[in-house]
């Protein structure tokens, strides 16, 4: 099959390679084949190869995907593939993007856990069946791959927008009964750069390889911010 791969930085061009089709071949296999057999200068990023680490996401035929778990059979069109770096992130080289801003936004959304108890206190007890726990569970399996961030049009229009992953992370902490920084977090995620800018296009939910719904998390944040505003805390 013909594979067009982005070469260069922000300025660059697609370069074509001929790659043999194999059974059960993933897009990451294709990129690895190109680097090992055709172009050793090709830069790309991966680690686990089994959909856990979130480092191999790329734009495949125009759609952001985790490449290690994307079979060529599912995405190939007319025996050709185009592979580009993720959108909405600066390109370092070839298929490697700089994800600093993506993760900095997690910090800006107060994505760190702030425990309320000390080592002298007893454990917090969170019932697996509690509503809070179930809502946090729905968003907690994020692997930080950046696919949702790349799929989000609001990020491309408003570079300050925190994005689906950071807001989803904030939501899982807002619903974490052990966390003691909920109000600071709600302040951090409200407003023009936060949950209120979401257009509910649901591209993040459509593309999330873990089938999470950042859209639902963002809607939850809007509700919590509203409640907090009504209580006069915001």
């Amino acid at each position: 099959m013909k594979v067009s791969v982005w070469k260069g930085g922000a300025e660059g061009a697609f370069q074509e390679f001929e790659v043999p089709r194999l059974p059960s071949q993933t897009v990451l296999d294709v990129v690895t084949y190109i680097q090992r057999a055709l172009d050793p200068t090709l830069a790309y990023r991966y680690a686990c190869r089994v959909g856990m680490c979130g480092s191999c996401a790329m734009t495949v035929n125009g759609v952001p995907r985790w490449t290690c778990r994307t079979h060529v059979d599912k995405v190939v069109r007319d025996e050709s593939l185009s592979i580009a770096p993720l959108r909405n992130l600066p390109v370092i080289r070839d298929l490697v993007t700089d994800m600093s801003e993506f993760f900095d936004k997690w910090a800006r959304a107060k994505g760190q856990f702030h425990g309320r108890r000390t080592r002298d206190d007893d454990f917090d007890q969170v019932k697996p069946s509690s509503s809070e726990r179930l809502q946090a569970d729905a968003g907690i399996e994020c692997i930080g791959c950046g696919v949702c961030y790349s799929a989000c049009d609001v990020v491309s229009w408003n570079p300050d927008y925190l994005g689906p992953a950071a807001l989803n992370r904030a939501w899982t902490l807002v619903k974490d009964e052990r966390d003691g920084a909920k109000l600071e977090r709600l302040r951090a995620v409200a407003g023009d750069a936060g949950c209120h800018s979401c257009h509910t296009h649901m591209s993040c939910t459509e593309r999330c390889p873990k089938h999470l719904s950042p859209t639902a998390s963002i809607a939850g944040l809007k509700r919590e911010v509203l409640k907090s505003l009504i209580r006069g805390e915001l």
């Binding site: 408003n158 409200a190 407003g191 023009d192 209120h196 911010v225 505003l229 915001l234």
Partner: protein, 112 residues
């Protein structure tokens, strides 16, 4: 602009959208009803002049538009033109005032 104000603007836009959903539906139904058998200025004025219910309805409609449209434009200016800050908000406040003034002028023109 503070997070609190931005959140209040968001709520104002959602609330005004809910009002507009009802107002637009009533307005369209009225148009469809009013044009049956031709439309004349006399017929419209006959319905609206001195009618406090229509005055209240269209005044509410105008207020909802004056709240809703500038807040929507605020996001469009940010996302399409990267225009933010005080200059944008002053222009939009003037736009809101212009909408309210023109709208209320029209409402009173058919009421008086």
């Amino acid at each position: 602009m503070t997070t609190r104000v931005e959140t209040l603007l968001w709520i104002a836009q959602r609330a005004s959208a809910a009002v507009l959903a009802v107002c637009v539906a009533v307005h369209l139904a009225t148009i469809i009803y009013a044009v049956q058998g031709g439309l004349t200025a006399a017929e419209i004025l006959g319905r609206t002049r001195g009618n406090h219910a229509w005055l209240a309805f269209y005044a509410l409609f105008v207020v909802a538009v004056s709240v809703h449209a500038p807040i929507g434009l605020r996001a469009i200016f940010l996302e399409w033109l990267r225009w933010r800050g005080a200059s944008r908000d002053v222009v939009l406040a003037l736009f809101a005032a212009a909408l309210a003034w023109m709208g209320m002028r029209a409402v009173f023109a058919v009421f008086m």
